[in-house]
């Protein structure tokens, strides 16, 4: 399998002034030394709670934020610092689908114009055919073509956003919580659509989500993020069935299971406390403040990645 995206030691810090009059600045280390790669046709899920840096990671890969450090490779070519003009050609092959479909569609343009906009190279007569073809490939019909975004449902808006992205033949898509604003019945429609498109066209997805049930369904590999760092990464089976990091275990334990019989079987394990402020991250292992098995060393020294099985890495002093 060939690699399409690779990030090495990616960092994105945001600068914050401590007060209005203060000259002292603080760094919010939203993404703090993140490395991973995604193979062609694969879905890697980035999972984490609020403030884990998952969305920032996705946006930094697309250079919607300029990276503070580290390297980004797209199809083997480093794109971290290449000039804007050169990057433009590559950027078209990397598209993003947003959490709120409505905000990703210009409310003053109809669906036809939204989808047709990037199809500049086509002749006018061909554009209509192409738009129709794109609409049909996401399960919409001709009758939707001249409607405006606020006249269609959230699920249909997301389909339009996907159709627009298909129009430029991307290779890599960053899906930023693409279904979390949608109703459950519609969520399944979009997930199936994304999965089918991937099969047909060999897309590579970076799927950003906080919903572990959805991640379990859509992705082949998963990375668990906490305070700007990847705590555990592996295939879905490895991470979900054999979680090694205490954070992953507690996170999985917190996910509600749609099966009331499971309620009695499960231990009542609750992850205590709350995620610390990324402006003031804990020393050593970032998770040690909430970790049930933390020892002295966790406070002092940041753990290295341990490969517990092939392709399954954990950043913990005491995995398992």
């Amino acid at each position: 399998m060939s690699e399409i995206i690779r990030v090495e030691h990616l960092k994105k810090y945001f600068l914050f002034k401590e007060g209005i009059f203060s000259r002292r600045v603080k760094y919010l280390k939203a993404v703090n030394d993140v490395s991973f790669s995604i193979n062609r046709g694969e879905t890697l899920a980035l999972v984490g709670e609020t403030g884990s840096g998952k969305t920032t990671t996705g946006r930094t890969i697309l250079r919607l934020y300029e990276p503070t450090g580290g390297k980004i490779f797209f199809e083997g070519k480093e794109i971290t610092n290449i000039p804007k003009r050169e990057f433009k050609k590559i950027r078209v092959q990397m598209q993003m689908i947003y959490q709120d479909p409505y905000s990703s569609l210009n409310p003053r343009m109809n669906i036809f114009n939204i989808i047709a906009e990037p199809l500049r190279e086509l002749k006018y007569e061909d554009i209509e055919d192409r738009v129709l073809e794109l609409l049909e490939s996401v399960g919409l019909r001709k009758e939707h073509m001249f409607k405006y975004p606020d006249e269609i449902s959230g699920g249909q808006q997301q389909r339009v956003a996907i159709a627009r992205a298909l129009g430029v033949n991307p290779k890599f898509l960053v899906l930023d919580e693409p279904t979390s604003a949608l109703d459950v019945s519609v969520q399944a429609q979009i997930l199936n659509l994304l999965e089918n498109l991937q099969k047909e066209r060999g897309f590579t997805y970076l799927f950003i989500s906080h919903d572990l049930s959805v991640v379990r369904y859509i992705s082949q590999r998963v990375a668990i993020m906490y305070l700007g760092k990847i705590m555990e990464i592996g295939t879905v089976e490895q991470v979900f069935e054999n979680p090694q990091h205490p954070y992953t275990k507690l996170l999985l334990e917190s996910v509600p299971v749609p099966d009331p019989k499971d309620r009695k079987r499960r231990k009542k394990l609750i992850l205590p406390g709350e995620i610390p402020s990324p402006l003031n991250p804990p020393s050593g292992c970032p998770f040690h403040t909430r970790c049930p098995v933390a020892k002295e060393i966790c406070r002092e020294k940041e753990p290295e990645y341990v490969e517990v099985e092939k392709g399954h890495f954990v950043k913990c002093h005491f995995p398992g």
Partner: protein, 287 residues
């Protein structure tokens, strides 16, 4: 704007009594201005022909609004004055928009040094009290209606620039703009297709309200002897000339003054309702 959206906005505006009043007044003014030669009882006097036998007569069945110090029918002159006032309103705001909107879009979307230059220029303009700046330009350019319009338009555009720049800055962060950029759509097309149509609503509102103020300020210029020159029928000029007669011949300045007042209020009523409809936070109460 979409067609059915315009219809929806119009429907709401007509349903609202105050804005309906504003619309009716403005429509009436436009009709009066267009048909002035046919409805004014003494069109020749409105254009300036003196009628010295009937100097300063109080309102009567022959002269509903009385006559002025040259014996001219005040009603006819007020009717003809509507032409000047509406012309001033549209021209001043139009000129302001023409300069202000493109500059604001460019400054907001492009940022950087373009933004810095445009914004410092607006700062210079805005550091003058508005009327004073118009007065200065007017004095430099000389008297006359055209010069008054240019003076007001030029002192007006920075407001639109600021308004639309702020909108452009927030809009360029929108996902749909991000997507367009990522797909290689040119800056020019992004500004025209994505930024302008979504940024224009508050400017339309402001422009509508400003039409009233433009009339008021043009009147002020006329009042000070800049702007429109006699014997043209202009409300501001009539108030200016009539102010010395106020105590004994109240009708002379009162009716043109009232015309100014009503017009300004009408534009404000319409602008206010437009603002409420187009502002998504206030819109809900109409739903």
């Amino acid at each position: 704007m979409k067609k059915d959206e315009i219809i929806k906005v119009l429907k709401i505006m007509i349903r609202n009594k105050l804005s309906l009043l504003g619309i009716v007044i403005i429509l009436a003014l436009i009709i009066i201005a267009l048909l002035a030669p046919f409805i004014a009882p003494y069109p020749e006097q409105a254009k300036g022909e003196p009628n010295l036998e009937e100097k300063l007569l109080p309102p009567s069945s022959k002269h509903w609004f009385g006559t002025d110090y040259m014996g001219r029918d005040v009603l006819s002159r007020v009717i003809y004055g509507a032409r000047i006032s509406l012309l001033v309103a549209v021209a001043v705001v139009g000129l302001g928009l023409l300069i202000g909107v493109p500059l604001g879009l460019l400054a907001g979307y492009k940022g950087g040094w373009i933004d810095a230059i445009v914004m410092r220029t607006t700062d210079i303009f805005l550091s003058f009290p508005p009327l004073l700046l118009a007065l200065l330009i007017s004095v430099t350019l000389g008297r006359g209606l055209e010069n008054a319009i240019i003076a007001l338009g030029v002192s007006w555009w920075p407001w639109y620039t600021r308004l639309i720049r702020g909108m452009a800055i927030s809009l360029k962060e929108k996902p749909y703009v991000e997507v367009a950029r990522s797909m290689g759509v040119s800056s020019w097309k992004i500004i025209v297709r994505h930024i302008l149509p979504n940024a224009i609503s508050p400017v339309i509102v402001q422009g509508t309200m400003d039409m009233g103020s433009a009339i008021l300020e043009a009147s002020a210029l006329s009042f000070l002897g800049l702007g429109v020159q006699p014997p043209t029928a202009d409300w501001g000029l009539m108030v200016s000339q009539g102010k010395d007669y106020l105590l004994n011949y109240w009708w002379y300045p009162t009716f043109p003054g009232l015309a100014i007042f009503i017009t300004v209020v009408a534009f404000n009523l319409v602008g206010d309702t437009l603002r409420e409809i187009l502002d998504p936070r206030l819109r809900r109460r109409f739903l």
